[in-house]
Each structure stands twice: as C-alpha cells, then as structure tokens.
Amino acid sequence: MSRKVKELLESHGIPQKEVYFDLENSGFVPDEVVEAMIPYFNKKGFGHPSITHRVGWEALEVVYEAKELVAKTLGIRNPENIVFTHSGTEANNLAILGFLLKNRDKGRGKKVVVSAIEHLSIIFPARFASELFGFKVVLVPVDREGFVDPEILKYYVDKDTILVSIQMVNHEIGTIQRIKDIIDIVKSTNPDAVFHTDAADAYSWIPIDVEKLDIDMLTISGHKIHGPRGVGALYVREDVELESPLKGQLSVEKLWPGVENVPLIAGFKKAVEIMFSNFDYRVNYVKNLRDKLMKGILDRVPEVLVNGPMGDMRVANNVNLSFLRVEGEALTVELSLHGIYVSSGSACSSRVLEPSHVLLAIGRKHEEAHGSILFKLSHYHREEDIDYTLDTVPKAVERLRKISAWR
C-alpha cells in the first residue's frame, strides 16, 4: 500500500512554491508549539499525571495549566469543568453519547435536535444513540447561507427535547450562527433542555463566553488552532451529568479514560497562548486576506458561487467556492501540482465521493457541491501567498474546464 503512495509522491514532486490552505482537515504545527511539546516526551513531565511522584506531578501541572488557560479564554469559572479528550470528534462524542447515555432512563425526554449542517461527529453519535436507546433525532433546516432560523427552531424544541446541539461556526461554509438568539429560544421553550455547541471552528476566531451565552457544553479542537492533532476538549457545566461511552482506567479525567497525552496538551496550551495573544489584530489580518482571496477569485474566474454568507457573519478564515463545470477533486489535484493545498466538497466520507451534506442542505445542486473548494486561512499566510493563489487558480480552472465533459 505504501509503495503506491510513494509512487504518487514521486510523480507529484515538490512544487517550487507551496501554500497550505487545508487547515480544516489538519495543519502544520508552528515551531514554538513543537518546542513547547518536546520536553514532555523525555525531559520532564513524562510521568502519568495521576501518579503521586515528582514526574507525575510535573505532568499534572501542565494539564491543570492548560485547563486554566482555556477556562480564561472561554469565560469558564471552574477549570475542572474542562475534559481533555484526544480530538474534537471525541469531545463531541462525549457530549452527545455521554449525555444521552446518562439520561436515557430518567424521563427527561426523548428528542435530540441538531442542525442539518452539523459536523458528522455530532450527527453520527446522535443517530447511534437513537438506534441504541430509542431517542428521536431531528434535523433543523438552514437557509441558503447556512443560518438556523430561531423562529423555525422554536417549532422543533418542546417539552420532549432533552438535548440541542448547534455549532457556533460551520466548519465548511464558515457561517457564524446567531447563537445567543438560538440559545434564548431553546431555553425559553424548554429550560430543562441541555444546549451543546461544537465550537471547534469558532474558538479563537469569535469571542466566546459560556456563562454569558448560557452554554451547557462546548467542544474545541487542538488542530484547528495550529495545535497538534490528538487533543480536544469539552466544557461541561457543573450540573450537567454525563456517562463516558468509553470504558477503561480513569486518570485525571473522570469522564475520558486513558492516559492524558501530556506533550500534546502542552502543545495545545502553547497554541492557545499564541492565538489569544493578539486576538483582534490576528482576526482582522486574516479577514483582509480572506476578502482579497475571495474577491480576487470572483473577479478573475467566471461561473463561481460563494458557499456561505459574505461579510461579518462569515468566520474570518473561511473561503468556500463552487467552481461550476469543474470536479472539485480534480481541482484539488491540479492545484496540488502547483503547490496549493486545499480540500473539496466532495466528501461525506473521504472514500466515498458523495457531495457534502452541508452544501446540499444550503441548496447546492450535486454538481455545484462536487465543484466546491475550501480554503482555510491563518495568520501564517502572507499577501504573496494570496497573490500566488490568485495567479494560479484561474489558470487551473480554465484548464480543467477545457477538458471537462460539462458544457
């Protein structure tokens, strides 16, 4: 298997210029974050954080420091209400499955409400819980820009609703939900319903205060903020009870078994420090690059659709465009050959070329969804990266359209 990939890499070669935009799926970890992790592999804190010796306490120290820092950035009063997992997906599974598992026989209700454009790590656990325990999962529609209408949501939430999960920012099209209005509707219709939000794509891009917003559970993810892969976290309000769907030896975390990955948590902590050190400046910088990229492509390439809203209700780092009469997967390969790394909207699961459920839910036709490309930006991008991309994308699209079967 690896031989085929080696051959692929050899034939691809390494382009002279490279610009990495696929931060949605994973991204590079900056040197400062790597340096923060390294000591915890073999110099200090490499012990088990729940064992009572010096090296264990060194590990425990960094786990607690990371929780205190994350708590500060989210307005969380008690850092002990943060659970470290090994990804945002695990944190979402803990939230959804963990809550439904704990409350399955308590007569609190059977309905679970999620938006139609949630990440699959929300939709799949919810469906799994419905198959196992008889919960009813309902999907709330969104409009053409991906917004959940609180007035429509109102008809979905009732006394039978036990859990509502609506993401703060959509991972594909960048829609920033009117989360305060949404939570107000949920809590006024059923004060006992628990509200969870997947904030993996919102964290460090929009201000979040869990107390002011009245959020019961919230997910974040390390690799979305230039932290290492392999770490995620879930905030759980004091009075919300969960049962871990994962069983095994407990460590520091009472809700997620297994040894905490301390080097990765140290890296995550450093990534949080970097992202929050100059929040407004960084977000505005990236927003300007985003706008330049989006406008530049729309000006230079005909027959392009914007997926998601424009302006301030779109998260600063997201550009998602559908190039008509082009297959997205072909465009990702064509751009890769020129050193521009992006992902396409042809992936419900990466091995099955179904169109993205997010794009279908906002009304894109199948061929429009298949032709979509996602660029995720960060403060590590420069103007010259955008200029190079604006120079390369039109030529790539034109070449593919010439040989395309679509007319």
Binding site: V138, D149, Y155, Y156, C348, L360
Partner: protein, 82 residues
C-alpha cells in the same frame, strides 16, 4: 399550473439523504423553476407542521391545505405568492 410533488417519507436517513436535507436541497430549484404549487408528503416527526409552513414561506410558498393522510403523515399543499 406547474405542480411539484415531493414524497419525503421513504428517504433513507443517510448522511446526504435525510428528508430535511432533501427538502432544503430541492426547494431553491423548485422556486427558481417557477412551480406554482408544491405538494409535499412528510412525516411530522421529521418536520413539525408549523416548521414546514414557515420554511416554505421563506421561498414564497404559502400553505393552503393540510391533510393528515395517516398516523403521523401529512400532505401539505402550498402555492406560490409573489
């Protein structure tokens, strides 16, 4: 009069074919193709009646008839208004 019929009862609830995603996906095309009337059959447990009415109104289709054709199954007839 151009009429579109949609039956959302039997769509398997896979990633991309949930009744809500199917409806959200088709409505913009239906509206832009100028259908005068939409007839939708759906399960109320998938889409509450009032939510469906409000969602259709966003595309300028207003419900004129609601029939319960069996337990939990609704037929809704909506007409376009300019």
């Amino acid at each position: 009069m151009k009429v579109k019929e949609l039956d959302l009862r039997y769509i398997p609830a896979s990633c991309t074919s949930h009744p809500i995603i199917k409806l959200s996906n088709l409505l913009p095309s239906i509206a832009s193709e100028g259908f005068d009337e939409i007839r939708i059959i759906f399960r109320e447990e998938d889409i509450p009646e009032n939510a469906m009415k409000l969602f259709l109104s966003k595309y300028n289709y207003f419900v004129e008839e609601v029939k319960r054709i069996s337990e939990g199954i609704i037929l809704m007839i909506a007409r376009k208004r300019d």
